[in-house]
């Protein structure tokens, strides 16, 4: 019970903490602006190149799903950064609370927030850029969006764990939020990348999520995408475990060297 309480406390407080610097109206504005603007930018680039509706829809769907990373990658990595800036990191490390629910819980509210971002983006994709959801398998799409948010939160925790040791996690947050646009098949297929870097794409859970979302929007069932989702789940769980390992390792180093916030 205690672990469950820690999990929920960690989830709620980590999420609420962002409202110390972000008021709710700004939060909503950002959600709408970010969801639309990135998608619109690449849609216009696609329009400039070909004007082919299939290309436009491909780009719109990819970017809609990628918006999840603003919540579950950027925000989750920045939890460590804010802990350092706000001086709360020593308190977090001093607590006797079990580390696993504490570590894992901090990303959980961002998963649901990320799903909301994707829903808003899909609405933009349908109303402004003509993506047809008429054939979509809604159950399969909902499961895909949830699993993508969940596994990408694992990825956020991994990079968050890594950036624990560095002074400015926001640098990592920026790099790993944007780099997904290149590697995950968001705007063009992974096969368009140089062959030597293609394996990197499959280290990101988003790659599987984007592919699965495109299939479900075309009518694929949960069974059709089960292999993709299975692979995504494995990559996500490995990320969480690695992230937890890094978090504990750097916590140990920080305690040993006495440089908790300075590292």
């Amino acid at each position: 019970m205690s672990r469950l309480r820690i999990f929920f406390s960690s989830a709620i407080f980590s999420y609420r903490a962002q409202f110390s610097w972000l008021n709710p109206s700004m939060w909503l504005t950002m959600k709408l602006v970010l969801s639309l603007s990135q998608m619109a930018f690449f849609v216009f680039v696609g329009l400039f190149i070909s004007g082919n509706p299939a290309v436009i829809h491909y780009i719109a769907i990819g970017n809609a799903l990628q918006t999840v990373s603003w919540n579950v990658v950027f925000s989750v990595i920045n939890i460590t950064g804010h802990d350092k800036w706000d001086g709360t990191l020593p308190l977090v490390l001093a607590t006797p609370a079990s580390r696993l629910p504490l570590f894992f819980g901090r990303a959980m509210m961002h998963v649901f927030d990320g799903m909301l971002s994707v829903v808003i983006s899909f609405a933009f994709a349908a109303t402004l850029f003509g993506v047809n959801f008429g054939n979509a398998n809604m159950l399969a799409l909902a499961v895909t969006v949830f699993l993508t948010a969940f596994t990408m939160a694992g990825f956020g925790l991994l990079i968050g764990g890594l950036s624990f040791y560095f002074r400015e996690p926001i640098v990592f947050a920026n790099i790993f939020t944007y780099i997904l646009l290149i590697f995950c098949g968001v705007n063009f297929p992974v096969q368009d990348l140089p062959q030597i870097v293609q394996p990197v794409s499959y280290a990101f859970p988003l790659t599987y999520g984007v592919a699965a979302a495109r299939m479900t929007i075309s009518g694929a069932t949960l069974f059709d995408i089960s292999i993709l989702l299975g692979q995504q789940l494995v990559v996500g769980l490995v990320s969480i475990l690695l992230g937890y390992f890094l978090f504990r390792t750097f916590e140990h180093v920080a305690r040993k060297t006495g440089r908790i916030e300075a590292v």
Binding site: L22, M26, M30, F41, V45, I49
Partner: protein, 270 residues
């Protein structure tokens, strides 16, 4: 040296020293334009047409935009975090001049993105990178940099009073890339966005830069049917007028903001 220029230069030098002391901050400022350009180059690679020109020059332009905008917002936030904003406000030097020096420095640093983009375009994507009119290209680039800096001043004045400066910065970045037509012709945008594009100085700057890079672009320029050299001069003239208006607006805004901050006493809490 006149006092105003001395303050601007000192702020410029200080900002440059900050960047050199902590160069990792260049990453958040230029990562979006760099990644966006790489994605655009990948999308363009199987297409024929002037796409490389748009991607490379647009990417460089976006770097200046991104860095200026990000730094305008973050400069104030940083002073608040460090507890030095009160001191900056209390100095006899005008806040506008301090921020102006920083703004030019930030736009200049944004050009590092252009170098990164040129390298990846030249070596990674084999985009031809010849410049048809180097003197005009240089003039257009410097004037565009000043125009972006002047716009940065307007943003910075608003950011002094906002707790959400950094958030606003993140939110404004991509819309500005879209509206200024950095990576694609403005004609593709809905017509109601066009006026917003035309009041942005850098929109004209990027048109001049494209004209200076390739004479073939003259048919796609804002001044279709006009000789490329004349079109460039017209672009630059419009941009200079807009930049002067930005500067005048910034002067008024900074006066208002300074007065309000001093009257209400909510500078740091804002």
């Amino acid at each position: 040296m006149p006092q105003m220029l001395r303050v601007v230069y000192s702020a410029f030098r200080m900002a440059m020293l900050h960047w050199i002391a902590d160069p990792q901050w260049v990453i958040p400022n230029i990562i979006a334009p760099f990644i966006f350009t790489t994605v655009a180059l990948t999308l363009f690679k199987n297409s024929t047409g002037p796409f490389g020109l748009y991607a490379v020059l647009g990417g460089g332009m976006m770097g200046m935009w991104g860095n200026t905008l990000y730094s305008s917002g973050f400069a104030i936030e940083f002073e608040k975090w460090q507890g030095t904003l009160e001191e900056v406000m209390a100095t006899p030097s005008k806040l506008l001049h301090v921020i102006a020096g920083r703004s030019v420095s930030n736009a200049l640093f944004g050009l590092t993105n252009m170098i990164a983009v040129l390298l990846i375009a030249g070596f990674g994507f084999r985009v031809p990178l010849g410049i048809a009119n180097l003197p005009m290209f240089s003039v257009a680039l410097v004037l565009t940099l000043l125009s972006v800096s002047a716009l940065g001043l307007i943003f910075a004045s608003a950011f002094v009073l906002s707790r959400s400066a950094q958030t606003l910065t993140n939110g404004l970045e991509i819309p500005l890339y879209i509206i200024s037509g950095s990576m694609f012709p403005i004609a593709l945008l809905p017509f109601w966005i066009h006026p917003a594009a035309y009041i942005l100085g850098p929109t004209w700057g990027v048109d001049a830069i494209r004209l200076a890079t390739s004479q073939d672009y003259a048919t796609d320029s804002f001044w279709k049917g006009v000789n490329a050299n004349v079109a460039m001069v017209l672009d630059l003239a419009v941009m200079i007028v807009i930049t002067l208006i930005y500067a005048a607006v910034a002067v008024v805004l900074f006066k208002m903001v300074e007065k309000r901050a001093r009257t209400t006493g909510t500078l740091v809490e804002a």
